[in-house]
């Protein structure tokens, strides 16, 4: 359960962006959540709704887009999408796979009122 730590880090980025843009309010937050980022969307939502009280994002809605694990094989170039961790290329059997997305949590965009 590290969703509250994640939300604390999210607010560091969010508040910096709001300041840079001289925003009065943040009204929308969109996240891209890797399916294998180790973060539970429902817990993240609860942590967000708790943390946002009294902040610049107090009225913000949270949108979470889940992103599957996407890998590229360094040997044969195949691009693979999957929902579970198996770091072997299904086309050529190589274990030299590069993770393209699906492991991280991104702050994708913010809707601001200025």
């Amino acid at each position: 359960m590290h969703e509250l730590s994640i939300v604390t880090s999210l607010f560091e980025v969010l508040e910096e962006k709001a300041r840079e843009n001289k925003a009065a309010k943040v009204v929308g937050v969109k996240l891209k959540l890797g399916k294998l980022a180790g973060v539970v969307p429902e817990l993240l939502r609860t942590a967000f709704d708790t943390y946002k009280q009294g902040t610049i994002a107090a009225e913000a809605t949270l949108e979470i887009e889940e992103v599957p694990l996407k890998l590229r094989c360094r040997k044969c170039g195949a691009v693979i999408e999957r929902d579970e961790f198996v770091l072997v290329c299904p086309s050529c059997g190589s274990t030299e796979l590069e993770i393209l997305e699906g492991m991280d949590l991104l702050l994708d965009k913010l809707d601001l009122e200025i």
Binding site: H2, S5, L31, L36, L87, V88, L105, L112
Partner: protein
């Protein structure tokens, strides 16, 4: 009042990754191999570390950072072996973050060859936080069961080596060592696997040899950089 949409596309743990990269650079340039030990509570991290400390000393100076929710107990155990050790008590947080480790880096004595970071016992959250390590070792103790790799894949996917601990208990448990290894290697085929018993001293020499080799590689790469 105008509305504005701002595209950010920043990683939320980007700051942690940045701090971790700084730690890796700083310690790497000083010839320190940093190892992050990650596992469930009670899987034997501290006891294995005690054996590693005994095997490395006095030829290879080392230091230890202990992460726990509460108490100085683990750092005290390591200090008793004559090794500098610092305790981070998170006061409830389930993992260590790079900035917590970063604060202790100036304390690491010059000439240190290895820095071990024993993470908070937890097979979930620590997997998401780079601490600036060169090597991430995940421990799996026999009593936990051979089905853990697929249940907690991120911990195994992000590791460099898998250390199966408490192998002295194999005869008494329905633990299938081959199954545990196969599951872990399916997730991450690059894992180097060690079978250890800290109580019997089994497998510790192989592990220590691997650590010494990895440090030689690190020092070599920095020299050629």
């Amino acid at each position: 009042m105008t509305k504005k949409e701002v595209i950010v596309r920043e990683e939320i743990l980007g700051t942690n990754k940045k701090v971790a990269a700084e730690i890796r650079e700083k310690l790497g340039s000083a010839g320190v191999l940093t190892v992050n030990l990650l596992s469930s509570p009670g899987s034997g991290k501290t006891t294995l570390l005690e054996r590693i400390v005994e095997a490395l000393r006095p030829d290879h100076p080392l230091a230890v950072i202990e992460g726990d929710i509460e108490t100085e107990r683990d750092a005290d155990r390591i200090r008793r072996k004559g090794v500098p050790a610092w305790q981070i008590t998170t006061g409830g947080a389930c993992h260590l973050e790079a900035k917590m480790v970063g604060k202790l880096i100036p304390e690491v004595p010059s000439g240190t060859e290895f820095l071990f970071i024993e993470n908070v016992g937890n097979l979930v959250c620590p997997a998401s936080y780079d601490l600036g390590e060169n090597l991430r070792c995940v421990l799996l103790s026999a009593p936990e069961g051979d089905d853990k790799p697929k249940k907690y894949p991120k911990a195994f996917a992000g590791a460099d080596c898998l250390i199966i601990t408490k192998s002295d208990l194999f005869p008494y448990l329905p633990f299938d060592q081959e199954k545990a290894e196969e599951e872990a290697l399916e997730i991450n085929p690059r894992l180097r696997v060690f079978i250890t018993s800290a109580l019997k001293g089994k497998g510790v020499a192989e592990l220590v040899e691997y650590l010494i080799e990895r440090r030689a590689e690190l020092v070599g790469s920095k020299r050629h950089a």
